[in-house]
Symmetry: C2
Subunit: 200 residues, 2 copies
DNA sequence: ACTTTTCGGCACGGTGCGTGCCGTTAGGCG
DNA sequence: CGCCTAACGGCACGCACCGTGCCGAAAAGT
């Protein structure tokens, strides 16, 4: 999204992204606009507009910087435990600054801009869904989950439910939630009948 | 949210809500602001502010007007068919005007306002989740679903997944999606083992 | 040293916000 | 019936942010 500036730019580009994340952390969603970022960075607005066509584009790049999300599912051979560990690790990261405010700002702007909505999904959510799918497909191959079922949609349900909690409700996605979600998933696709996986 | 105006107000209040919905239908999310509503209704801005403290409050009331959502789950004795019918009926209603634009506008504003987020959830999503829960609990009592499982969270997953699709991705929640969702739900909580409910 | 391009700074018109202050008008009351 | 009070429409304000244009300065490339 950011075109490489020719001369002094690279360092400035980097600084602007850092400034954006700083602002998100200190002042939250409210402080996230171009004027404020420019003022804070001691920069003319052109310097920003030369790099990004809109605030949304700047936010997308800023988010990419921190969305490392240590999204690396373990594979201990216990798919439920691995999913659980990953969910409990990544959900708080989503809510806290700087990711939280930046993400919220993008969600807000995306409501008015379908293209942004698609970009947002492609660049972030899709990755999460795909990695999740990869992990459960692996479990399926290992015999932990029932065979002959397309797990694409279940992977979306797993991720989507957590995002729904965070973005559309005020309920936190705590351990209880994650466990209930995994109960449902394992009850539907786990190998052993039901009772054992449905407890806990 | 709207306090009853004393004299000329009731009719005006009603007219303003209708004007808001008209604007949402004709111009979408973009046309939804107080100035535009006031201009369109031929009204001073005070007349709006006297009734609602913010655009969000006005939108909430406007949404209530059209959120009848014919949310009435049938009970034909086949819970899967009843859920399917309801989902396919209500999902498009959510996307089309006037509900779509108004809802999107609220989602956008709610990102900056936690209280609004809670209100939005309480006034709309919670109802949907509760009715869904009521229907599947009934199915549980009828022996269609496994007993001794708390279905509160599954009800949230059912609704949440559809909202996730609509609000955070650009994928539509079509028949295939609804069927896949119900596959998962029935596989997890349906009475008959798995194979039959997982097909389709 | 000279050119090119980015740079910061400033100002502009435009839009929407929320709040004042008019004079007007409708509804309720005596 | 006429008065009085409250809601009304219209207008203007200061504020914030948007996106753009123009300046002279400074840095990078030649």
């Amino acid at each position: 999204m950011a075109e490489e500036p020719r001369r002094r730019g690279a360092a400035r580009t980097d600084e602007l992204l850092r400034t954006t994340l700083e602002l998100a952390t200190e002042r939250g969603y409210t402080g996230l606009n171009i004027e404020t970022v420019a003022r804070r960075a001691g920069v003319g607005k052109h310097t920003i507009y030369r790099r990004w066509p809109s605030m949304a584009a700047l936010l997308l790049d800023a988010l990419s910087r921190v969305w490392t999300t240590d999204l690396d599912y373990h594979d201990t051979g216990d798919v439920r435990a691995d999913l659980r560990e990953q969910f409990l690790r990544s959900v708080p990261a989503l809510a806290e600054p700087p990711i939280g405010p930046v993400y919220r700002a993008l969600i807000a702007e995306a409501q008015a801009d379908e293209t942004l909505r698609a970009t947002l999904h492609d660049r972030f959510l899709r990755t999460v869904e795909e990695r999740t799918l990869a992990r459960i497909v692996q479990a399926q191959r290992a015999g932990e989950l029932v065979a002959d079922v397309d797990l694409t949609f279940p992977a979306e349900v797993l991720c989507g439910t957590l995002y729904y909690r965070y973005l559309l409700s005020t309920r936190v996605a705590d351990e209880k939630t994650v466990d209930a979600l995994l109960d449902m998933f394992m009850a539907a696709y786990g190998r052993q009948p039901s009772a054992s996986s449905r407890s806990r």
